[in-house]
């Protein structure tokens, strides 16, 4: 009969599919006793191309697959040598000379030379690459000509021999070396990029402690030890397997089942973990160099009036907010986070004072009828924060509406003038210097870029300009702290909190440390025997 036949065919298909599947594309097999670190991730890895990646997940892997001239420590933000043995900075901070190691090799076999670093940075500056790291290297002499296509190379990057590279800057920049620690400045082999083009992300060739073994989009990424890594004895792991597209709750379940070795702690479980001593001692945490804030557009009503901005600062109950986030934050008194060099511990900021808020709003003539719209990232935590803010503002007569939106369109919108009046955002330091917060977020020249509050105070601008070339750290930080005090008084932000990152690991995982600014480095992590 015809019907049973159709069913039989269907059944056959199902059986074949099911039998042929081993959890979706074979997982790589490791020999018994191999030290494999197993992780999980909510999102897919966006890219492994150093010129393209500008997010935590991409950087996590890029810093393991590639080498930069310098890098940060495991748990600190001090500069250490990586591909460079030593470097020298001219007193006026315009000439930077690096001496490379002779034993760095790409996984394709050939040695890494100064030409490779120059190629990497020119690739980032090339408009065709459309790299977001372009702005960090624009100040190199000859970069504008190169970008405009008038020169074949950037004249300010000198490679007198294969083991020396010298950078000449058009203006003094005391933190230029930090820019070279970003994955944008990783050495990449020109021939591999020429071969793979835009698919270089899927076939990365680097000189880092690991190399890519397998990457199935949305499912799994596997990196294995690079046997030719120039530091003997590292990495201590044989491989790292990262499951992709795993939600926070699922990651936790897998951690409990022993299927993964390190996990973030989901909101719902946090209280339980902290109350259980055997679990609590397996957690690590670190205050990040980040600040979460509410940005108020100083050029759009009602936030043109400083009293309204200050009122909002007094109206928000930050402790309640941190409680809703399970205590994973510290109240922010100002712009700069505690872990940032140059942080001002003496800043007191705004206390929770709804009465004062109401007075200020009345003084500004807007005690009723204020109905601002908060633009925020459409993710669960942000929406919880948003609803907590709605509760607080309702108590002072402000009717807040929420406008959840995806990251890409949000980033685009905040850069247009007169578009976004009120937004919820965070800023994380890219390098350990106050300029990375204050100049980037509050100077007039950054209107339409990162100064999404369109804030302008000529005194602040003058201080920022004065501080930029100063190499004496004490003087430098003092100037920036002065600027910060003015900014806090002007209140273009509601200063919310500095997030604290928490992670839990299995008892057999060692030396997994959190860095305040960068994703964790994995080459020194080791596993004791288990199972």
């Amino acid at each position: 009969m015809k019907i049973p036949r159709t069913l039989r065919i269907l059944l056959a298909i199902v059986v074949t599919l099911v039998a042929g599947c081993q959890g979706g594309g074979g997982a790589p097999e490791f020999p018994p006793g191999a030290k494999v670190l197993r992780l999980a991730e909510i999102n897919d890895v966006p890219t492994l191309d150093p010129a393209a990646g500008y997010d935590t997940v991409s950087w996590e892997f890029e810093q393991m697959l590639f080498s930069t001239l310098v890098r940060y420590g495991e748990a600190d933000v001090k500069l250490h040598p990586e591909a460079a043995l030593a470097w020298a900075v001219s007193p006026d901070a315009t000439v930077f000379t690096f001496h490379l190691r002779h034993d760095v090799r790409f996984t394709s076999g050939r040695a890494v030379t100064s030409a490779d670093f120059r190629y990497a940075i020119e690739r980032v500056l090339n408009p065709r690459t459309s790299s977001k790291g372009m702005e960090y290297f624009r100040a190199i002499v000859g970069a504008p000509a190169f970008i405009a296509g008038r020169a074949a190379h950037v004249s300010g990057i000198e490679t007198p021999d294969p083991w020396t590279i010298i950078f000449h800057l058009a203006a003094p920049d005391p933190i230029f070396v930090d820019k070279l620690a970003m994955p944008f400045a990783s050495a990449v082999p020109r021939e591999a990029v020429a071969r793979w083009g835009e698919d270089f992300s899927r076939h990365p060739v680097g000189s880092g402690p690991f190399m890519l073994k397998q990457w199935i989009g949305g499912q799994r990424i596997v990196i294995v030890r690079n046997p030719d890594y120039f530091i003997r004895g590292l990495p201590k792991l044989d491989a790292v397997v990262d499951l992709l597209g795993v939600s926070a709750e699922l990651e936790w379940l897998k951690f409990e089942a022993g299927e993964i070795d390190v996990s973030a702690i989901p909101t719902a479980e946090f209280a339980y973990v902290m109350k259980t001593p055997s679990l609590k001692r397996l957690t690590t945490h670190r205050v990040t160099v980040a600040t979460q804030y509410l940005g108020m557009n100083c050029q759009m009503a009602p936030f043109t009036d400083v009293r309204v901005r200050q009122a909002f600062n007094y109206a928000i109950n930050k402790r309640k907010l941190i409680a809703i986030l399970n205590g994973r934050g510290v109240v922010a008194h100002g712009v700069m986070p505690p872990a940032l060099p140059g942080y001002d511990p003496g800043l007191t900021g705004y206390a929770y004072d709804p009465e004062r808020a109401r007075q200020l709003l009345a003084a500004a003539g807007v005690s009723h009828g204020l109905a601002p719209e908060l633009w925020l990232l459409a993710d669960q935590t942000e929406l919880m924060v948003g609803q907590s803010l709605q509760q607080d503002l309702a108590l002072v007569g402000v009717n807040l509406t929420l406008k959840p939106i995806a990251l890409a369109p949000l980033l685009e919108a905040v850069r247009q003038p007169n578009t976004v009046p009120f937004m919820a955002f965070g800023w994380e330091a890219d390098f350990p210097d106050p300029s990375n917060f204050l100049s980037v977020l509050f100077s007039r020249s950054q209107w339409g870029a990162n100064n999404d509050t369109f804030y302008y105070n000529p005194r602040v601008d003058a201080l920022l300009r004065e501080a930029a070339p100063v190499t004496d750290l004490q003087k430098r930080y003092a100037l920036y702290q002065q600027a910060e005090k003015i900014i806090v008084a002007d209140a273009p932000w509601v200063f919310l909190y500095h997030p604290v990152a928490y992670v839990i690991h299995q008892p057999w995982v060692h030396d997994f440390v959190l860095n305040p600014m960068r994703p964790t480095r994995l080459e020194k992590v080791w596993l004791s025997p288990h199972r």
Binding site: E249, I324, N326, Q387, P404, A406
Partner: protein, 271 residues
């Protein structure tokens, strides 16, 4: 005996719908608390059902029972308004197609075919994302992606009715089209339209709940059942009741319209 049973389904459905509408209308009177204010200090740690809060409190300290009661307002508004849009479009197209036939029928049906191949949920998601997610947008979008079924059914009914003697006769006598449609066809197509309205509402309710679950529904803090479930998923092990109750509410609402529509259909079939 048989007829009584089918009427029973319709009756129960109607009763359930009536209760739902009553709850939605009387929300400010029956809800014990304001659904958006924090009334319990359970920040970050949802509270279990208790005497003071029969359905518990959520991670922002709000009373779940009040939120479910107020949620009925949004669900019903979107569900019924969207079905109105669906019917407006679907009945117009179906009637025109079935009555006029020829080129009009061909074009309208091809257009319907194209709409049928477009994935409804994806389209709704894309449209809501592009336009502002507000009450009006959502009910329009849901209505826009749900009319194809109605159009086809109404067309089939219209076609079969158009062959009947009384219509043929009226046409031969030179009756104007509009009169024919309104006076003769519409009343006869009405039972099908009523069934589609009821079953359609259950569909729009589900679609709205789905969109809210994906974060594309009416924005917070207005309580929406779908979004309540989405917010509760992270607490699925420590506070499972948070996800259970809004789901039961959706189930109740959808079931009530299904019972009503299906019961009515059965009763008409018997006659």
């Amino acid at each position: 005996m048989k007829r009584r049973r089918f009427n029973l389904m319709e009756l129960i459905g109607a009763l359930m719908v009536a209760v739902l509408i009553a709850v939605a209308l009387l929300a400010p009177l029956i809800a014990p608390h304001d659904p958006t204010r924090a009334v319990a200090p359970t920040f970050g740690n949802p509270g279990p059902p208790s005497a003071a809060f029969p359905l518990g409190t959520d991670e922002l300290g709000r009373d779940v029972l009040s939120r479910i009661i107020y949620g009925a307002r949004i669900s019903l508004t979107v569900g019924l308004a969207a079905v109105a849009v669906t019917l407006a479009i679907g009945v117009t197209i179906g009637l025109s197609s079935g009555f006029f036939g020829g080129a009009i029928d061909f074009l309208l049906m091809r257009f319907t075919d194209v709409m049928l191949t477009l994935p409804g949920l994806l389209l709704a998601m894309a449209l809501v994302t592009v336009l502002r997610p507000s009450l009006l947008t959502i009910l329009l979008v849901i209505g826009l992606v749900s009319w194809t079924q109605v159009a086809r059914v109404v067309r089939a009914e219209t076609l079969s009715l158009s062959q009947r003697d009384f219509v043929v006769a009226a046409r031969a006598l030179g009756a104007p089209s509009r009169r024919l449609i309104v006076r003769h066809l519409l009343p006869n197509v009405m039972p099908i339209i009523i069934v589609m309205a009821a079953l359609g509402t259950s569909g729009t309710l589900l679609l709205d709940a789905g969109l809210s679950f994906l974060g594309l529904g009416v924005p917070p803090p207005t309580p929406s059942w779908g979004r309540m479930i989405e917010e509760a998923t992270i607490y699925f092990r420590t506070a499972p009741w948070l996800a259970t109750f809004p789901g039961l509410a959706i189930f109740y609402a959808v079931l009530s319209f299904n019972l009503l529509g299906y019961g009515y259909l059965r009763r008409r079939r018997q006659q």
